[in-house]
Symmetry: C2
Subunit: 286 residues, 2 copies
């Protein structure tokens, strides 16, 4: 397919590479232009605005940092929706509020475009290996059209339901992983402060009912004393805030998440922002 | 070895069977006498008090429900410490406060006995299969003496450190698993209330960074609409309370656990007590 691809960050660059490798024709755009340059050698074309990347394509993929960036890229005067031809399929793979997805879907539909929200999980490793999990909201027919693209980037590809539900499941999953990390950190703090040697924690807990992906991740970080992102506190905070705000807007009580959000906001303000989210544990041990 | 074995509950009965099968001579005692009867056919002797079970043994294993029961069985007039010969190794495998373990260890030492705290994880399935994880506090020499017994009951056998540290690691691990369950329940609630179909949650989250043993357990319970214990809310609450009290007594701040304890206490009071701990999710969805 002829594709526009917008957003060549930690995730996007690998996803774009995998699409090129699968034989699609890519026109890429990135706000910081230098990040687009390497794609010339891979056979990609480089656009100077998001709108240029979207013009005359079969589909346009966006994966940028947050709601405001998606709105700018899609809804702006130089943006995707203004430039794309009717019938173009717009696929936003950023992690944003489901409400923002629905707003962009409506603007796209008003100009005869189609829209899928399709956030991913699996991190930079999954992006590089083409093994991402992709959660998709939107029409089944559009989902089927996009399937070859998703298959070039991911392994577990799930049509969750109507527009926005891809993002909803992503945010709920991120709420769980973020809070799981925080409570694992709390238990590690307790064990260490009570005098349990770190290697005994590593020997037992990952093989007990306390086991989780985030616990394993934390113990790995602690052993290596390595706190660079990875997934930054700022990013984790953004996703947690989106989940808590979505729940609040829809009147869904969350017993623990708002307090966890407050605690992580505090950690962010006290210097955690640029570190990996696992630095929450380091702060608890300080 | 000649063994006294006290406490033939959900875990203890299988552990005692495995010790018999490994060739040890067992004298068993259980407060509710009927539970001891089946051991006659397996070649075990049946004692009428804890003290009788402890008399003349090389080692005595206790695994009962809570601190008060351990104190009664070990420290009571008809109890283990009054009856056992000097040199006997007392191994308490109950989940109790490390402070109680240290108190019993001191009473044992005063009469020339030796003591290990050795709580387990792995549930009734692990107990039956002899695949428990066993976390041991006490002297290295005593740990080595007990090793053949532990190997008959468990697979991962870890000497954590001094007296009480087996219990400490157990409580910290249970704090993590209990809180992991609660935050997973919270995220599942959010996704379902926002309209994500249950089967889509099952398809995605166990393969994402939200993955944990407790999340898988919850989704399994939800699919089967099955809420009988397993591990009851009352037992989970007991362990969580022990961990929070230990932290408080030792001046170790826990940011989230006290509020989680309050929430689970509420669930317990509202009819959850006799159900499996996963019923916390059912209550969040009601």
């Amino acid at each position: 397919m002829r594709l526009g691809f917008i957003g060549l960050g930690v995730m996007g660059r690998f996803m774009a590479e995998n699409l090129l490798r699968a034989g699609h024709e890519l026109t890429v755009y990135n706000r910081t232009a230098e990040r687009a340059e390497p794609f010339r050698a891979l056979g990609g074309r480089i656009a100077s605005t998001a709108g240029d990347a979207a013009r005359g394509q079969d589909a346009v993929i966006t994966i940028v940092t947050a709601d405001a960036a998606v709105e700018e890229v899609c809804l702006g005067a130089q943006g995707v929706i203004a430039a794309a031809s009717p019938g173009t399929l717009l696929i936003d793979m950023s992690t944003i509020a489901p409400g923002t997805s629905r707003k962009i879907a409506a603007a796209a539909q008003a100009r005869g475009l189609r829209f899928l929200d399709a956030p991913v999980t699996g991190g930079d490793v999954g992006a590089r290996e083409g093994s991402l999990t992709i959660m998709v909201g939107g029409d089944e027919a559009d989902f089927q059209v996009a399937m070859p693209l998703f298959q070039a980037m991911g392994r577990r590809i799930v049509h969750v339901g109507r527009t926005g539900l891809g993002e909803t499941l992503k945010l709920a999953g991120n709420l769980i992983s973020g809070l799981t990390l925080m409570v694992a950190a709390e238990g590690i703090r307790l064990a260490l402060r009570e005098g349990v040697p770190q290697e005994k924690i590593e020997e037992v807990l990952p093989h007990s009912s306390a086991a989780s992906t985030e616990l394993a991740n934390l113990l790995n970080r602690l052993r290596q004393d390595a706190w660079e992102p990875g997934f930054s506190v700022a990013n984790r905070l953004k996703d947690l805030r989106l989940a808590v705000e979505m729940a609040k807007a829809d009147g869904i009580g969350l017993p623990i998440a708002p307090e966890a959000l407050r605690l992580l906001t505090e950690h962010d303000a006290q210097g955690g922002a640029t570190l990996d989210e696992s630095s929450y544990l380091r702060a608890l041990l300080a």
